[in-house]
Amino acid sequence: MTQSVVVQVGQCGNQVGCRFWDLALREHAHVNKKGMYDEALRSFFRNVDSRMIIDCVARNGYTICAGLTLAYLNPQAVLVDMEEGVVNEILQGPLREMFDSTQLLTDVSGSGNNWAVGHMTYGSAYREQIVDKLRKAAEHCDCLQCFFIIHSMGGGTGSGLGTKVLSLLEEEFPEVCRIVSSIYPSAEDDVVTSPYNSVLAMRELTEHADCVLPVENQSLVDIVNKIKQMSHAGRPGSVIRRDSTLISGQGGLSGAEKPFDAMNNIVANLLLNITSSARFDGSLNMDLNEIAMNLVPFPRLHYLVPSLTPLYTLADVSVPTRRLDQMFSDSFSKDHQLIRADPKRGLYLACALMVRGNVHVSDLRRNIERMKPSLPFVSWNQEGWKTGLCSVPPVGHSHSLLALANNTCVMSTFMELRERFTKLYRKKAHLHHYLHVEGMEQSMFSEAVGSLSSLIEEYYLLDATKGRLVPDAPRLRIAR
């Protein structure tokens, strides 16, 4: 069994991270009835006490973990923030006993929404400490397979320091896969300089990450609204199981739901589903290193559009097969993608389907056959599907599907980002805040936007082949 280490950076990163640990515990408590420290738990948690660790108490029909015995579980995580607020909240919340102080790195004044402060100033000031904490986390792992970084792109810490951590990881642990979950700001983001921060961070992601899972805040908002609408519609025959929605934290530890919790739960579920096959059994296992191998045909084109279905499970059990097929159809629809793009309008370079629950390989194949005609794939990868079957479904569902698409539709997200950047940069607005930071130069801006432009160009060239009939490459001929 392999282990993964989660590095959460900045306010957003830590809030999502907090939801992730909560939901992970919920999931394991659900599966692990005997409360023994098993292989599955090992992928994310260290056992600091060899006695029985989870005291599963049935309460109101849901099984939760009793708070006390959490002291025996230590998440493999490093929490970084340049302000204390969020991390302190975690340390005062129900998960407090799980983290120990050596995993935390905080400062007081924050990064002021300035990528340069996060990346350059704090990056160099805390370099030793960060590397140290990462090394400690890695040493506790028997077989470290992957680093998960969670951060946002629009701010200062998550964006700047987060990408610094990414390049440190590449230096110190070059063989360990780096999967980054990046939250992109929406157009109406209240941080004025978010385009600068995002573009500067993008360059780092393109160069140092193995895979990036871009998530747009706006998509999360839309999905949350959709679910809430459905819950309140109250039509007979469409009552939703409460704990089954993608946004629900019910059954976990935290009590009242905080404002961004619903959106953050979606990202947390994304991470849980991606690692499900590495943690649990299935007839067709899909490891994390297989994701990078199959979905990244060219080193820089590693942006994978995620989509999670179903959003919720209906309370009454209706026709199972139709529900299953609907799940597949939904996962390719525009509304279920976690960025605002329509993959059907773009060109697929590769697509991975990770199915959880009671689904047979024949169902999977049938649905792939069914969906294929409407999905444009690049000429040299007409059957570019990577599939995985994990037998353990997520809490509240009988089955679920995570689709990761390497699709040229990310181009539109990047182009919008570049436009917002250019609007500001043209006027040199707010530039002085960045240039005042030691180590920061104006050339970094032009290089960053240059890197983004060439990335867009690469996607564009591939996208342009869509619909064109590309002849097969002439085969080698054998002399007789």
């Binding site: 069994m1 392999t2 028997d142 077989c143 397979q145 059994d281 007839s283 067709l284 296992n285 490891d287 290193n289 297989e290 990078a292 191998m293 199959n294 979905l295 990244v296 045909p297 060219f298 080193p299 590769a350 047979h360 390989v361 024949s362 169902d363 194949r365 792939i368 056959e369 294929k372 000429s379 040299w380 990868n381 007409q382 059957e383 570019g384 599907w385 990577k386 599939t387 097969d472 490459a473 085969r475 080698l476 001929r477 054998i478 007789r480």
Partner: protein, 443 residues
């Protein structure tokens, strides 16, 4: 004489236990003592307490599948794996042939060789080695190829049979065509015979013949196991002179792999019916053999949808298979008959020179094995192992797709990371195009 099986990767370790299941239940129920003894000797060794322990080594780069297979076998009570016969690591090969072949293979060479050596030493006499793997992933294909190379180096005089599972045409793994080309090109130099099962074909058998509604990999693997075991269980051969043959792999290889350019073997078994229908079905040898022959001729892999119009071309028309005729020319065939009244079965149809190439006489091209013991609950069972053009189309498709991907340079950086260069790729492509060319020119 005994066969030592090496199960590699997820597929190898999922198909392998099914094969041992079939063999052990077949050997237990068989009425003939000599047959059971021969089957047991071939695949198992018996502990002083009478337990059957499979002569197998299990290798995988991640532990889940091996753990599952070992515990399942132990629970069955009929047979089990040796306690120390498996080797696994924590982290898989990531579907990367180069990772399997260049990194994991060499790194764990000594351990794996030691495990195989121990199994081989437990055999009174070694009939040969069988490596079971898939070609689509990273471990089965990459580590499997490396291990086959080691086996060839360590046991140069032994017969090595590679059993390969080819993936579904519409991907299980995106880089499966690369992995397949790299594997086949290397194995062609190392293996004595390459026996292939295609997931697509077996899937159709499960759906159309066995009427399974929700086909799982377990179902697919059980069909593969049934077909493979029907070949490898003891049988009376031309060389065995009245006793059960003691050199199954050697005889298989000499019957079928008579030329180094032609090593790909496909398998067909009749009948295949759902177990619920077995009580109501009667089989006759003439009917079974007639269907099987036409399946060979028209290249249909199962008893449904056989095209009876396809005929072998008459006398003078021997200039290669005319395009679109659908006729499948054979190099060599091995027919294995098991069950009641097997001595009365009339197999002349398979000795027709029109089926074969011009440079082998039908006596050399056709071999027949028989066993009066019914196999795996079927009163009569006929299996045909063919060295023919049957795999030409799937192979050609596989190479075509891999080549298109190679022409766009897609995914190459993932392989180069571990030490495989573009040159290596080109060499493998050349080898496989050679194989494709040889088979398509068969006349």
């Amino acid at each position: 004489m005994s066969i030592v099986t090496v199960q590699l990767g997820q597929c190898g370790n999922q198909v392998g236990p099914e094969v041992f299941d079939v063999i052990s239940s077949d050997a237990l129920e068989g009425q003939k003592k000599a047959f059971c003894a021969a089957a047991r000797e071939r695949f198992f060794h018996q502990t002083p307490r009478g337990e059957l322990v499979a002569r197998a080594v299990l290798v995988d780069m991640e532990p889940k599948v091996i753990n599952h297979s070992v515990s399942r076998a132990a629970k069955s009570g009929a047979w089990r794996y040796g306690e120390a016969s498996h080797f696994s690591q924590k982290q898989g090969s990531g579907n990367n042939w180069a990772n399997g072949y260049c990194v994991h293979g060499p790194r764990h060479r000594d351990v794996v060789e030691e495990l195989v050596r121990r199994e081989v030493e437990r055999c009174d006499r070694l009939a040969g080695l069988m490596a079971m793997m898939s070609v689509a992933g990273g471990t089965g294909s990459g580590v499997g190829t490396y291990v086959t190379q080691c086996l060839r180096d360590t046991y140069p005089k032994s017969f090595i049979l590679n059993h390969l599972t080819w993936p579904y045409g519409t991907g299980e793994v995106i880089v499966q065509n690369y992995n397949s080309v790299l594997t086949l090109a290397h194995l062609y130099q190392l293996s004595d015979a390459i026996l292939v099962h295609e997931n697509d074909t077996v899937h159709r058998i499960c759906g159309r013949l066995l009427n399974i509604k929700h086909i799982s990999f377990g179902d697919v693997n059980r069909v593969i196991a049934h077909q493979l075991a029907s070949v490898l269980q003891p049988a009376l051969t031309a060389d065995s002179r009245g006793a059960y043959g003691r050199n199954p792999l050697g005889e298989l290889a000499s019957a079928l792999s008579c030329h180094p350019e032609y090593k790909l073997l496909s398998v067909c078994t009749v009948p295949q019916v759902p177990s619920s229908s077995m009580a109501y079905s009667t089989f006759s040898w003439p009917s079974l053999l007639k269907h099987l022959r036409q399946m060979l001729v028209s290249n249909t892999k199962m008893e449904e949808g056989i095209d009876w119009q396809v005929r072998p071309p008459g006398g003078s028309a021997r200039t290669g298979s005319p395009a679109g005729s659908g006729f499948n020319r054979s190099l060599a065939n091995l027919l294995v008959l098991r069950g009641k009244d097997v001595y009365s079965a009339e197999t002349g149809g398979f000795e027709d020179p029109a089926l074969y190439t011009s440079w082998l006489s039908p006596e050399e091209a056709f071999s027949l094995w028989k066993s009066p013991v019914p196999f795996n609950k079927y009163e009569k069972c006929a299996t045909l192992v063919s060295n023919s053009q049957a795999l030409l189309r799937p192979l050609d498709d596989m190479v075509g797709k891999a080549w298109n991907m190679f022409a766009s340079r897609a995914y190459l950086h993932q392989y180069m990371k571990f030490g495989i260069s573009e040159e290596d790729f080109l060499d493998c492509f050349t080898s496989i195009e050679q194989v494709v060319s040889s088979y398509s020119q068969l006349h």
